[in-house]
Structures are given as C-alpha cells and as structure tokens.
Amino acid sequence: MPTITFSFKDFQQLLGKKLTVPEFEDLLVLYAKAEVEKYDKASDEVTLKLDDTNLPYLWCPEGLARFFRGMLGISKGMQKFKAKSSGYKVTVEDSVKAVRPFITAFVAKGRKIDDYLLKQLIQIQEKFCESYGRRRQKTSIGLYAYGKISFPVHYRAVEPSSAKFVPLGFDHPMDLNQVLKMHPKGQQYAWILKGASKYPLLQDNKGEILSFPPIINSSTTGRLKTGDSELLFEATGTDEESVSLAASIFAHNLAERGFEIFSATISYKAKSETTPSGKTLKISITPEFIEKVTGLKLSAAEARQLLAKAGYECAGNQAIVPDYRADIMHSVDVAEDVAIAFGYDNIKDEPLKSYTIGMPLAAVQKVNNLRKAVVAMGFQEIFSHILTDKSSLIGSAEIIELENYMSETYSAVRNSLLPQLLDVLSRNKHTDYPQKVFEEGTVSARNGSKIMEWHSLALVSAHSKADFTEQKQHLSAILGSLGAQFAIKPTEHAAFIKGRAGSIIVDNETIGVIGEISPAVLSKFGIEMPATALELNLNLLFQQ
C-alpha cells in the first residue's frame, strides 16, 4: 500500500479544476481506493495512502489527475502523448540475457526541472521500483542528465572486476564487486545479482559508464539536477511488461508536464523495438458481460461512455487498455472499471434470493454444552492466544515452532492449554482465591512430518486446599454428563507431582491427563498456591 506526498495546488493544475480537500477526499473514496492520510495547510502538501498494489500510475499527482480528469468528464477517452521518433539508440548485448534481459529508454526535453518536479520524479521512481518493481528486482529505473551522454548507449553484462566507475555518493572509482560490498545501495540490492557471473552495465558510446543497474548510477553522468531541462530515462529488469510499463508511466507524466518525448530504439540481437512502445492491450467486453458481473443494464453507447470515463478507447466489442496500465488481466477487471465509473453508490442493491439452510460445525453444540457445564461448576472461562512462548510448552519434539517469530512470547503453537491457564494463575496472585479457570480451544502438534490439530478442554483449580479429589470430581461430572465411563491409570507427566498424575482412559483410549501440578512447575510460574488440572482431547472424546 504505497503512500505518496505532493502539492495540492500542483494536483489541481494538472487536473484543470479547483477542488477543496474534503471534495478531493470524497472523490478518492468514491473512485480511487485511496484516502488522504494528512493535509498540511501551511505547505499545501497532501499525503495519500493507496489501496492498490498493481496500479503504479496512480502513485503520482500526474496519474491521479489523469484518472480524475476522466472520471469528472474534464477530458474524455484515452489520454495520449505523441512520442517523436529520433535517432536515439540503445544496443542490447546478449550477455544481459542471463542476468537482466530487458530495457526501455526515452529522452525528454523542453522544461526546466525544479526542486518540486525533481522530488516528484524521485518519488514515483522509488515507489515504482520498491513496490511494483519488487525491490528493484523486476524493474529498476535510472534518470540521467541528457547533455553528458553520447549516443548510442550500450547495455551489456561484464565481468565484475573489469569495470570501474565513481558511484553516486562516493569520490573514488570502484569496480562492480567493490560497489556491491562497500556502497550502501550495493549492500542493499546485492541479493538481486546473487549467482550471476556478469553484472549489467550501461555505457555511452565513449565508454563512459552511466550506471550499474539495478544498483547505482555513476556520479559523473548519472545525476539529474535541478535546473536540467533534458533527461534520459531508462528502465531495466527481468520482466518485459514491467519495464515497458515504467517507460509508459514516466513518458505520460513528463509529457503532461510539458516535456517533448523522444522515443529510443532498443536494438536486441534478434529484434528491435521502440520505447515507449505505446502498445495497448485489447480486451473484449460486451454490455451482456458487464451486466453479468455488475448487474448494470447498459446500452452499448452507455457502456462506451463509461469506458471512456475510465480512460479506455473502444473498438467494437473490444476495449483498448491505456498503455500506462498493466493490471488488466481479464474482462472482469474492465467490468469493475465500468462499475466504478458508473459510481458504486448509484448501483441499486439486490437481495440474495436463494434459500439455504444455516448450520454450525458439527462439534459446536457439544463444545458449548461442555463449556456451560464447566461454568456451572464455578469456573471462569479464559480465551487465550494460540501462539505462545515455546519455553512454556512441554514436549519439544512435537511442538510446532515458528521460523520467523517476532517475539518469544509468540514463538510456537500451543500443544496444550495448561501453560496459558497457569499463566492466568501467575498473573493473578493477588486476586481472590479460589481461582478456578478453564479454556476450550484449538491446539496443534506434530508427529514427524504430520500435523495434528484438535479441540482441547482444560481446567485448573487453585486454592489452599486444591487436591486431586476435587479435580477428579470435576472430571466425573464432565464425563458423566456425556455418559462416558472412564478409568484413571497412573502416569508420569512433567507438569504433575509424581504419584498424583493419571491418564484418563475412555474405551481403552487415553483421552487426557489429570493431576496435581508439581511445585517445580508452580514455582516456575511464580504461583504460590496449590493447583490441580485436567485436560481432555475433545476430538477423541467426541469420537467415543
């Protein structure tokens, strides 16, 4: 979920309409899956949070304005720019195939870049690369001062030690290995190149190094500054569609800011293409399909009108998707855009008509009867987390631990409810006794590669006269209410006093344990009151 900041005045200029901030907020919620996080009146800066993760063209004021120009009817249909063809050329050597095969580029000229615009360019560059470009792996973007570059530009992969340049932020030359080791950006993004024997490099025709994609630009040619009015854009990556999308979005933005766009010819060994390509996706859409998805009955003309609002162009039963969007995978995506353009709040709701029989899970009734029976014996119900501290659990081999836990407190899946009930006692030492607590809930454990999950019911009773007899009374009452005959077989259990721990047997199957909590366990929890407990596997019990 990207967050972006821009000048509200700038946005209104791009939009071509005056708005108040509350009006803008309403529009965002109604159409754009976004909300204003804050607006600073003094600096006129608005900060937005966007829900979408697949619409990077909206992560900048230019794209948002373009979107709303359509939705508000300020401009109609697909918004285009004209890229001039030029002699700019990028040659792509086969050596990049193995590491970072795709590149797009263009040149933009004609407007002085001020502080604000530079900040905006960097913002969309970062958001695009980090989020949509998957931390630069899928796509990374470079911007350069055009004047210092002699075309054609060459994109190749080289031996890491064979190329040396001064990276941004440093004042001495390094080879590519050194950049990965020593430069902060190198350290941050080295993982992308892991395993590659040659690293990507952009050089101009004089051999001057422009950048080491996707890591860092050169400090001599690779820095765009305030006051520059001509720039070179390039995007490299592992995903063809994504680098192409980056070029489209930047070209649209710069064209709308008053730049002239000059396309570049990308010359691969086997093919040659022009970027930004201006290529668009065609997708079939009919009023019938729109009705099926959205329930809206539209004429073909109405559908076309709504599609135009959403920035599409129509050709028969096909919608043409603007080149700055790559999120459209299926006709349902277009149908949703039609519904948004129509306005969700204008869509009349309809009730479900089918008749279905509601029912809870089979065990719910039984579990709830048991819970109520235990409450009737004076127990307070507890509802705990399923994740717990692994050191509080018994039986290391069967515990399901988390690989990437954030804190020890939630580092494993509970395999018993007892530790958490003991935690209740330990946190309430100064609360009135007797303390009788119970919990019913999911526990899970593993047996080799097999994972088991079951409902467990546990009772703990703590007071100065708590003893086995009392707990066995509870057990008889619970099992008696289910008509189950049980036996208790002496057992050894780390939680209980030796000689005062028993397995609970129903129909020759062990379904639980009962006993007096051992003083060692009590003192581990800091409990200063005798306590007894029982725990039942309800899945086994209900099977009986």
Partner: protein, 543 residues
C-alpha cells in the same frame, strides 16, 4: 436503651461474640483476650468487629514502633560495649594501645571508634610522655566508669523489646545514637489493638450472662428428635458483610463470537473450517495471489519451522492452480505470467486469512450450489503487538456461491451485514482492492455510537481463482453448472471474456468483527480481548 432492647441484643449475640464479651470487660489488649478466651486471633477480631458494629465495644488500633536488639546489641548488652571495655581496661593505670586492645578484646575498627567516643566525652586522654601511644582515664572518666556509660546502662538495663513511646527523651536519644551502629538496634512496626466495652456493652454483658442458652444452627438431629421445639434461635446480624463469591462465567469475547455464529446460522450460512497450520497453497495460491505478492513476504506471514512442507496437497488441483497463475487456465485471463513454484506452494505457514477456509470449501466435493458459507477462525500475522494489532486474532468471513450473482447482490449482502452488526441503514459501499476479487468493495457503516467505521470488505472471486477450484468439483458431476472449455488465448495482447461465462459467481466477504466486539465489551485495547486478568474477567459485564 430499654431493657427489652438490650435483651434482644443479648439474644442475637453470635457464639464468638458471647465468648469474647466477658474478657473485654477485664482485659484491653486483643492479644491478651486471645490468650484468655483460647480463641484464634481472627475469631476474636471478627467478634470484636461485630460487637463494635452493634455499638457494644470499641476497637482501637495503634501503630507502634518496637525496639529490639540486633545480634551485636545482644552481645553488647551481655559483654559490654567496646568503649566500656576500653575504659575498664585503663581504670587502674594508663595502658599502651596494644595492651588495651588485648585486654579489652577489640578489633582495630572498634579501637578507633572507642577512642573517638571516649575522647568526645573527655573520659580518656593520651599520656604525652609515653614512648608508645598510651591512654589514661580522666577524672570524669572515673565517674562514668563507676556509674556505667549511658548507652551501656540502656542496653543492659532495658527489658527488650520495648515500645518506643515508653522511652524517655534521653533514652530515645540513645536509641538514635545506637541506630548508627551496625546491628545493635532493630525497629519493628506493629499494630497494637485494644478493645473496651461501651456502656451498652456492659449492660448487654450482664444480660447475656443471665440469658438462656440460644441455638446457633438448626441440625438434622434437632429435627428428628423434635428438640427444635424448645430451642431459642440466635438472631443474626443480617446486615453484616459476607465474603464475596465468584460464580463461573463464560469469556465475554468468546460469547460475542458465539452470537456472531448464531447470527450467520440464522441468515442461512453454513459454517466451514480449516487448519491453523496451513499450506501456502490453500492460504494464497488457490486464491490466485501471485507467489511474488507483497503480502506473502516473510515480514507478513509466520512460517512453520518443522515440518516445512505439506505432503497432502491435491496434485491435480495444484496443476490447475499453477496453470491459472501462469497463463489464466483458459479463463480468458492473461494470468500472472511467471513460473509458479510447486515447492513454495507446499510451504507450511500459520493461516493468515480465513479465506483459506473458503478455498478449501470451493474445492471440496460437498460444495452446495447455491450455498452460503461462513467461518470464524483464528488468523496469524507477523505484526508488532500494540493496542490495535495482535499476533493471532479472529476473522469472520465467508462466501456465497450461486448462479447469476452480481455486484448488486454483493452490495445487498453488505447492507444486510451493516443492519445485522451495526444496526444501521446508513452505509457507504466504495471500490476497494483485494488480490483475489474483482470487482471489490469496502463497506462503511454508520454505527449509532461509533460513527462511520469500515465494517468489512467483499468482492466477487476472480474467475482465475474459481475455475480451478470449482472445476475440480464439477468433474465429479455434482454441480448443475455448465462448464464450457474455451480455447487458450491466441493473441497475448487480446483477451476474450467469453471463457469465464461458465464459471459460477462466488461472492466473498469478510467482516472486521473485532471493532464491533471491542465496542460491545467497552474495550480500547485489542489485547484485552484475550485478557488473562481475572478481576477484569470476573467483573466483565455479561453481554
């Protein structure tokens, strides 16, 4: 006070009160009464409390500081203070330091302290002419030696422990001095309770002595023998406080979830479930969330350490889901166009969304069409715990599977939820984004007390998600749905929608139930939903 009244009071005396009463007329200290009445202290105190409530006795409590001797203090009381021993050793003639040390049996430290103390009161003075450092006793020293040092007199003469209030001003000064020394004086704070009878108490005592014996408890034996007919039952003090009793209670948040369950059942929804340790397949891949999706990051989901991989994934279904991700599986979709990893799909994680239950249900052979399903399930997220986030929490969500469902039904369903859970008709349904639904919507409802709140999200499952799952179900011939196989796309830049026309629509929704729960339970901190605070739970209102 009338005689009848005192007689009535006398008749209502409890066994314990009756036992204590005569003793207070003679003794005032509670300790003494305990001894004399041969009762436990708590019993005496309880009786005195009751007597006081009735105006028969007056119980006072004084906090007193008590002085007793520490280990060194006891030694000094018996075998004299170091300076006293010092003084005694030179009582007859001046002595060199080494001699004094030996005779008085003093450590170096005690020597130094003794010299300082004795010089201060001018009891000794050095002998100037001596070769070795030598001290002699002065005239006033002789006086002191005769009568004993003040501190020594105090230590040896007092009967410890002693209340500090019983000491004279001078003795108190000595105590202050001695406290500076290590382990000589110990102080304790004790409660001193005394009781005495009021005038009424004295009268009642007279009556009580002469009253006939009353009966405390009715016994089975009295009923059997009929002896109850002669018995006079003691009257109780019905206003006396009693110990609190805590009745068992269901946990309020869990009860709230039970209500939610009942609500869905009553709306015709059938409950579904799934495991908490789940594979990425059911949790994400089956939902058409691409394997590179940001919500699948190590910083969003908990990974299970061992075992790492599920071994029970349905192979055929995995193949179909893989195809959906890679090329759209003939739904008319482009798909996500990347290489789907069958290893990653088997990776075990902690379920991060109850939607995993929905994907399992859609693929199950007992799926009913039309069908409405819901799940209340625990989910796990890699989040920093604070007032708004938990490591595990409950989600409520579900699906509606039915022919000819559209966005209009989805909006209708959301409005129904707003009515059920927020009791309001004031709703806003706005566009939203979820990776597995298209179209998607969010529901804002105006809660009568909370104001506008985001109550839930919903959408229609993408065809790329539904086709592989429900398709597997249809092959077994249980579905009334016509399923038309479409040719794979030919032009990668042109998408045909007709392929999806045979896919049954599935509305999916989720409700942010925690906020409603917190409001209902009066909580501001989400962590309190799983509170281990017994006072809080025992006193929670029963909602």
């Amino acid at each position: 006070m009338t005689t009848e009244k005192t007689a009535e009071i006398a008749a209502s005396l409890h066994r314990l009160e009756r036992a204590v009463l005569p003793h207070i007329s003679k003794l005032s200290s509670v300790e003494d009464v305990v001894v004399a009445a041969r009762m436990q202290e708590v019993e005496v105190l309880r009786a005195l409390q009751w007597l006081q409530n009735k105006g028969l006795a007056k119980l006072t409590e004084k906090i007193e500081e008590i002085i007793r001797l520490g280990e060194n203090g006891k030694n000094y009381a018996k075998s004299l203070l170091p300076e006293a021993r010092f003084l005694n050793s030179i009582a007859n003639k001046p002595q060199a330091l080494a001699e004094i040390k030996k005779a008085a049996n003093l450590s170096d430290e005690e020597m130094g302290a003794s010299i300082g103390a004795l010089m201060r009161i001018k009891a000794i003075e050095p002998v100037a002419a001596a070769a070795e450092k030598t001290f002699k006793i002065t005239e006033s020293g002789r006086q002191i030696a005769k009568s004993g040092l003040r501190a020594q007199r105090f230590l040896s003469g007092q009967n410890f422990p002693v209340g500090i209030n019983n000491l004279s001003g001078e003795e108190k000064n000595i105590v202050t001095e001695l406290k500076k020394r290590k382990d000589v004086i110990k102080e304790d704070v004790v409660k001193k309770r005394t009781a005495f009878l009021t005038e009424l108490g004295k009268e009642v005592l007279k009556k009580a002595a002469s009253a006939a014996e009353t009966v405390d408890r009715l016994t089975p034996e009295m009923l059997i023998t009929g002896r109850w007919k002669e018995a006079a039952f003691r009257s109780y003090d019905l206003t006396a406080p009693v110990p609190r009793v805590f009745f068992g209670k269901l946990q309020p948040y869990r009860e709230f979830l039970e209500e939610v369950r009942e609500k869905f059942v009553s709306m015709g929804f059938e409950e579904m479930t799934g495991p908490i340790v789940e594979s990425e397949f059911w949790n994400m891949d089956a939902l058409f969330m691409p394997q590179f999706h940001s919500a699948r990051d190590i910083h969003d989901v908990y990974y299970v350490k061992e075992p790492k991989y599920a071994t029970d994934l349905p192979r055929q279904l995995v193949k179909k889901v893989k195809a959906a991700h890679e090329n759209g599986f003939g739904t008319g979709s482009k798909g996500w166009r990347y290489e789907f990893s069958e290893e990653k799909t088997a990776r075990l994680i902690m379920r991060s969304q109850t939607t995993a239950c929905s994907s399992r249900k859609l693929a199950s052979t007992d799926l009913k069409i039309p069908g409405k399903y819901f799940a209340i399930g625990r989910c796990f997220r890699y989040d920093v715990i604070d007032t708004k986030h938990l490591a595990d929490f409950n989600q409520v969500e579900g699906i509606v599977v039915e022919e000819n469902l559209s966005l209009r039904h989805l909006i209708g369903l959301l409005k129904l939820f707003a009515k059920e859970f927020c009791n309001t008709d004031k709703v806003k349904v706005v566009p939203s984004y979820f990776p597995f639904t298209e179209p998607s919507a969010s529901l804002y409802a105006k809660h009568p007390e909370l104001g506008w709140m985001e109550l839930g999200g919903a959408g229609i499952f993408r065809p790329e998600m539904v086709k592989p799952l429900v398709g597997s179900h249809m092959q077994i011939g249980r579905s009334p749905i016509q399923h038309r196989q479409q040719p794979m796309r030919i032009d990668p830049r042109s998408i045909a929608h007709s392929a999806s026309s045979g896919i049954v629509p599935v509305i999916a929704w989720g409700i942010g139930i925690d906020r409603v729960a917190m409001f209902k339970l009066g909580l501001n901190d989400i962590r309190e939903l799983f509170s281990h605070d017994l006072n809080f739970l025992r006193n929670a209102k029963v909602v």
